[in-house]
Symmetry: C2
Subunit: 665 residues, 2 copies
């Protein structure tokens, strides 16, 4: 519900395009100032409150669902900045979308719900603390991401599929229908809100009804010649898509250096891009000729002082400016114009080419500034103008109309940048409501994805890699087949004895950042040195906090378990667990002992040291582990060889250890 | 493409409903004879050639994709019978669908492609033998199943989602887009065929175009009162759905006893049900009153001598018989009638109730006879008539029309019997092309699924259980938490020494049915008895067939590997590997030795004996294992405790070993 309010807010604020004053310079100044102020506000929020809120947020959510437990990704402050930054950003007229931020906001809200409030802001709910484990929290966040897409595109099924195909790393059938339930609720509420807001009561919210870009009326009939045209469109779209990814990556690397020099340079960069965008929006329409309004639309054309197509700009009465109709409009309206089949001939070829080139470039330079910015809308804008260009070029040679080509163009760009298939197909279907296009749309998506896959990775994967998030791929890299598990374990191995001295534990916790430690059963508690199990840092901290120490080196066992309840060891909210600094261990307690057995996982997952690293990686990933113990192949040696964690499987780590390996083999 | 030809064939044959002779008894005799002959033909094919082809086939495909490697499920003979049996069965006028058989046919075709032809029928293709492993074969069959749904419902996206949600047990993102590609090809070809067949050139094939039951024109507007009606419809639909499952289960158990007594009783049963169906179809319309044709449809009503609605049956001219329009029609046309919003008032309440009760009961008694029979169509028929009854009862109290209620009724029944959500939603969307219904459809599906889940399992799961297929659930049963891995391993454990006597190997292969054997490294080849690894029956047979024996107990190691290539050990086609009878071992060779090390998997997956059985089950299932070795916790004992296979995790096995456990705890 909250997500819907956000869409509503974003749509309501999306109206700084009403300047049709005859004094063009004054208008330009007002336009630029307004945009730059909004841009500065968005960037300031990001720079000072939550730097993690910049960008799309989908890569971060994807990494989180893969098991990367970074604190700031889903923090309440990130949510706050994401919502308001996105509103300001969209209102500032940037070429950016609200879809990625909506997914991120959905995930943040789900995360807050999963932690049942926020302890920092005194919003907690005790009876729901059973949610404190990784899996259920991840499930909830997957549902939140699905709800984000569902609310952003009004595409409930597309939302579920997006969460499944792009966001989630593990999937269970129970999760499928829970996500479906979430988006069903979003759909029903969304419909209710749109009903309530009928007749423009809530600004632009609800425009287009439940289907944002309805092109259902378009007739679809095509010959085999059209099929060929569509295939070429897919191939070229795929190339443009992968080029987009390549350029976004380069721009991001450049911006990273600028952004590193402090919050003020972040704001300056955002303001500069805002100025550039404003100049393009305001300056380029001057290049376009005035076109007389179509006869049958005289009451709708030109549009003055209200939202709609056929912008008058500097033209005489009853004329409109094609470029202004695209630039001087909300992104949603521009897309609607491009996809509409009734607007055939509304835009000249030169108009479309100028718009395509500008939007393509602006989209690339806009992503990466310190403002919440989605990638869907820029890519759809560029793609649909590209498709429309192709459609206009083919003209009467093809049975398909320009709007349909625009849709296919958008599909090809989306396929080329994001590399999704089923979910994009369903999202586009739900956006446009024309089922008869389905075969061609599937074809274009597959072709552009396959073509683009030859050049580079999907844009979200690229960003994850650039941000250095340790994302575990579902497959093992080929060179891993030539290594065994013991080749990559990190040194030195730190392990605890079953009954360990408090001082030792504290020392290891302080000097290392490890989150899991093997526990070894040693004489006199067993006949030989055996592997007892694995103990987690967070559990150790709980035990240390309660100070259940003994003076002698003895087992206390079940005595301890009776003093704790299961949820004492539940996973705390992000960044909220007991910290090392919270402990207050006295000097004399340092010499005392702690029996680790009650909190040891006595049957951790293990692999033998000679197992192929590729097999171990699949194992690690399929079961969603955080620690995998490596045990020796033959007895008579220490009972554990090492621990494998996510970082040990990262290509960078492995290739650093074995520089002679060829990563592309 | 082949699948499309099948749909085409089924549609062409689906025309035995053209008897409008005035001599009703003669007509009845002709109708019954025709139907019974076709039914007997279908049952004879099933009974004599491929008993595995009876029924829907989806449970079998689901079990296969879960790892149940039964030979007959995907054999070429099954495919043959499935295709022709399904054609005869649908033509015989049974209340059954072609969708399940299409999925099964798709899977069979994929399996044949995966084995690259059939060695039995001398259709092999050597260069593609790299496909000989479980995973790739499973992926191909998943794509085949998706293609089946795509062809049957003309729903390409629905097909992918069906394969994902219902059929497949493991899913990878690569598989997702491969399945998408498969169904995209199906969609493009399907559209081509429909274009070719325009104007009824191919009988009933292609009727309705790419969207089978287009109700796009229906207006969708509803109040909160309607929402309440829809929710109750979902609840009752869920109850009816689970009752359907319950009754199908009971009927199947009864039929099983009848079918066991031989092929002739199978045929007799099918003929008897055919007679019952014919009697209902022909007899019940006599109960219905004649209704005058609507004024504006005088050229279309009544239908005489051609396919269509408004059957005249025994009525005077310009009148039609409501029940005959439903019973004396193809199942597809009956569904189209029920879903159509333009046919409001065409059917009286009594007509709909009689039709609903009859179809509900006939659907239940028809499933289980020895004829390929899908469940989708009977459930959609019953559900849409139920929904139409509700719509007619509500009448003007609701803003929604009867056709829309029929669609929601169908959704509620499907949700109640099959328990899918996303895939059903998309399939129904692609069948009917009305995106505005989406929120309500999602709601109904979720409600009916949740209600029905309170009573029993989904119909496919029930059938899998009844057939005794060892299906591994993705979750562990609660009582497994109280057991450890070593509790359920089967006795006695049979293991081989690293260099083993040929006679011993042969003896164990003959006396047990195990497919995997642990190999133990023993002195003099190692210092102590260690676990060397796991060897597979199929690999042992390859080694035995080549007779690489040595007279002495020595290691030969790499000498052997050079004489084999990897694909010698590739998984053979279903039921085609080397069999024990193919070996020809002489008496003197029995005393010779075989070095098992070259074919041993030296890093098999292991768990310690004290691991919770629930954890081991999740491990087993997540990695898709066939064998899981259980190793002792402490050293100094034999290096292996036992092997866990799929059967050891089955509830029946565990509850037999530990009768005191409560399975519903």
């Amino acid at each position: 519900m909250f997500l819907l309010l956000i869409t509503c807010l974003i749509d309501v604020c999306d109206i700084p395009y009403m300047f049709y004053i005859s004094e063009y310079y004054q208008a330009f100044a007002a336009f630029v100032c307004c945009n730059m102020t909004l841009a500065a506000a968005a960037a300031a929020l990001c720079a000072y409150i939550a730097p993690a809120a910049a960008g799309s947020g989908i890569p971060e959510v994807k990494a989180y669902l893969n098991g990367v437990d970074a604190h700031s990704i889903l923090a309440p402050s990130t949510l706050f900045v994401k919502i308001f930054g996105s509103i300001f950003g969209v209102a500032a007229g940037f070429i950016l979308g609200k879809e990625g931020p909506m997914v991120h906001s959905g995930a943040c809200i789900a995360s807050l719900l999963g932690q049942v409030g926020s302890r920092k802001y005194h919003l907690t709910w005790k009876c729901l603390r059973f949610y404190k484990n990784d899996r259920d929290r991840r499930d909830l966040i997957t549902c939140g991401a699905a709800a984000g897409v569902a609310a952003a595109f009004r595409a409930p099924v597309g939302g579920v599929l997006f969460a499944l195909e792009e966001a989630a790393s593990w999937w269970r059938s129970a999760l499928l229908w829970r996500a479906f339930f979430t988006t069903a609720v979003v759909a029903v509420l969304l419909r209710g809100f749109i009903q309530l807001c009928k007749g423009g009561k809530c600004g632009l919210f609800g425009e287009g009804g439940l289907i944002m870009f309805d092109v259902n009326s378009a007739k679809v009939s095509y010959s085999s010649g059209d099929l060929l045209a569509v295939i070429s469109l897919g191939v070229i779209g795929g190339i443009f898509g992968s080029l987009y990814n390549f350029l976004v990556d380069k721009v991001l690397q450049t911006y990273r250096i600028i952004n590193k020099s402090g919050p003020s340079s972040k704001i300056l960069l955002a303001v500069a891009i805002s100025f550039l965008t404003s100049c393009c929006s305001y300056g380029l329409p001057w290049l376009s000729h005035c076109i007389p309004c179509p006869r049958h639309l005289e009451d709708k054309c030109p549009t003055i002082g209200r939202s709609g197509n056929y912008k008058n700009f500097q033209c005489p009465p009853n004329h409109y400016n094609g470029l202004a109709s695209l630039f001087f409009n909300t992104n949603d309206n521009a897309i609607r114009n491009l996809l509409s089949s009734s607007s055939d001939g509304e835009f000249r070829l030169s108009t479309l080419i100028v718009f395509f080139v500008t939007v393509y470039c602006l989209g690339i330079v806009t992503y990466g500034i310190a403002v919440p910015s989605g990638l869907f809308i820029p890519v759809i804008l560029a793609g649909s103008s590209y498709g429309r260009v192709v459609g206009t070029l083919l003209g009467s040679h093809s049975d398909l109309d320009g709007g349909f080509f625009a849709l296919l163009g958008a599909a090809s760009f989306l396929g080329g940048t994001m590399r999704m298939t089923v979910s994009l197909c369903v999202i586009l279907l739900e956006l446009t409501n024309n089922l008869l296009m389905l075969p061609l749309m599937m074809l274009v998506l597959l072709i552009s994805k396959s073509v683009a896959d030859c050049f580079n990775k999907g844009v979200y994967d690229q960003i994850i890699k650039m941000k250095g998030l340790p994302y575990m791929e579902a497959h093992a890299e080929p060179y891993m087949r030539n290594l065994v598990a013991s080749d990559v374990v990190s040194w030195p191995l730190i392990s605890f004895s079953r009954v360990e001295k408090v001082g030792n534990i504290l020392h290891e916790l302080k000097t290392t950042a490890h989150n899991g430690f093997p526990v070894i059963d040693e004489p006199p508690f067993s006949n030989s040195a055996d592997l007892c199990g694995l103990v987690l840092r967070s559990h150790l901290l709980v035990l240390l906090k309660r100070k259940n120490f003994t003076k002698q080196r003895v087992l206390i066992g079940s005595d301890v378990t009776s003093r704790f309840r299961a949820h004492d060891f539940g996973k705390a909210g992000l960044g909220k667990g007991i910290k090392l600094e919270d402990l207050d261990i006295q000097e004399e307690e340092m010499e005392m002992y702690l029996d680790l057995h009650p909190i040891t996982n006595t049957s951790p997952y293990t692999v033998v040291e000679t197992m192929s690293l590729a097999k171990a990686a699949i194992f690690f990933r399929a079961l969603g582990l955080r620690h995998l113990l490596v045990v020796p192949k033959t007895p008579g040696r220490p009972p554990i060889v090492g621990i494998l964690t996510r970082h040990d499987f990262m290509p960078e780590h492995i290739l650093e250890l074995f520089p002679q390996l060829n990563p592309h083999e």
